[in-house]
């Protein structure tokens, strides 16, 4: 599986690239790594008028969750245009683990 496809994706194939690119633009401010690389994107369901994204966070105690959700929502809305309803949901199951990180993230954090 390549790094740019490291989350489950269902729905319209033509939206895959803009959605993935938009999610790559959402960066954790302290890590300087994006949410796709960190393995925080659990799934995308893309229909013509509605795109739903499920993401998780490494910590439930972190207030930055709100910022990440906002940024993901606005990046997706910008990428998909006004006709598409964007929903970003935070989920805690299954719990995040470091194995979900991309090769680049693992490399940056000393795993490889």
């Amino acid at each position: 599986m390549s790094e740019r496809e490291s989350f489950p994706y269902t729905g319209l194939a033509e939206l895959r690239d803009p959605v993935t690119a938009a999610l790559h633009r959402v960066v954790d401010p302290e890590m300087s790594l994006d949410i796709v690389e960190l393995g925080l994107v659990y799934g995308v369901e893309a229909q013509a008028r509605a795109v739903k994204v499920r993401i998780t966070m490494t910590s439930a105690a972190c207030p930055v969750t709100e910022l990440i959700v906002d940024e993901a929502t606005s990046e997706l809305a910008r990428a998909l245009g006004p006709g598409v309803e964007v929903g970003v949901e935070v989920v805690w199951e299954p719990p995040w683990d470091p194995g979900r990180m991309s090769g680049r993230a693992r490399d940056a954090l000393g795993w490889e």
């Binding site: 105690a61 207030p63 930055v64 910022l67 719990p95």
Partner: protein
Amino acid sequence: MSPGLRAARTALLLLGAASLAAGVSGGLARVGFPLAVPASAAFHGALMTGGFLGTVISLERAIALGSPLALAAPLASGLAALCLLFGISPLAQWLLVAAPLLLAAASVAIARRQPQAHTVLLVVASGAWVVGNALFVHGAPVDACAPWWFAFLVLTIAAERLEMTRLMKRRAVAKPLFYVVAAALLAGAALATFRPAPGAVVFGIALAAMALWLATFDIARRTVRSAGLARYAAVSLLAGYAWLALGGLAWAATPFAASAPRDVAMHALGLGFVFSMIFAHAPIIVPVVVRVIVRFTRAFYVPLVLLHASLVLRLGPGLLDADARRWGALLNAAAIALFVATLLASMARRETPAPSPAEDAPRYG
């Protein structure tokens, strides 16, 4: 988010800031500046640890939980500090006990959502604040409350850092070592309540051990090689760990000397360690709380350098010379004021279109 909720959060942040202003003015009065703020001077420690830090930590936790009900914790904490400015009233006492219990409740809710070591530790940390405030309300001397208040702050920060270390490859020994150090910290605080001298030694050594753990395992050791805000935050954190180590050693020395180690311990921890964490994270967290965008610039390094330089002046030459101590304290306050000014000057309304993070985000490499 509703404008009302945003206004409520902003008001609570300002309530915390009011405690900070009162606490700092009280601190300046203590080192000899002619400020007529007797209550702020008398309750300097309670205003800084509970009124300011307790309020902002509770606010942060409430936002993480996402429940407006949890805003009761920062409200109680901020109001408790305001009440203290008029002396220890029954209302102040009630609020001082309620605030940490409300924070503990919010922390339990988060630990249930994500049962992990760091979320459980946040519950334990808020428990230390409960004990510290209960002792304070009960009339215990500040020196009996202080280990609990610092246990609350240090364990809260350590829990957040422990969580971040999960992203890094760490040695198998890291986690058990962390538990040993955290347990020693609590044991030291508990012992200090009944046997101040040996308690101070255990507590101080545990603080220094925590500094060593953080300096060894924290992800800041890697992010310091990145750029922009991530690098700035890492520099602040690593500098803070040096103060945590010094503060711990000074704390362990308090039973063996007069007042000097106590001042070093309190301010190496409270200013050097805790304010480094605040300087590191406020540019990340404040935008979330008040819904603005903070554009990071290198200007943030100026208050950071001033904080550390002024603390060196205060806790170095200031130990022997009252003028150096006063100047150090004044410049400590100036560093905080300059940081707040830098933060305010870097803010932009969240509604304004920001450049894409892909263009300005700091990256490794």
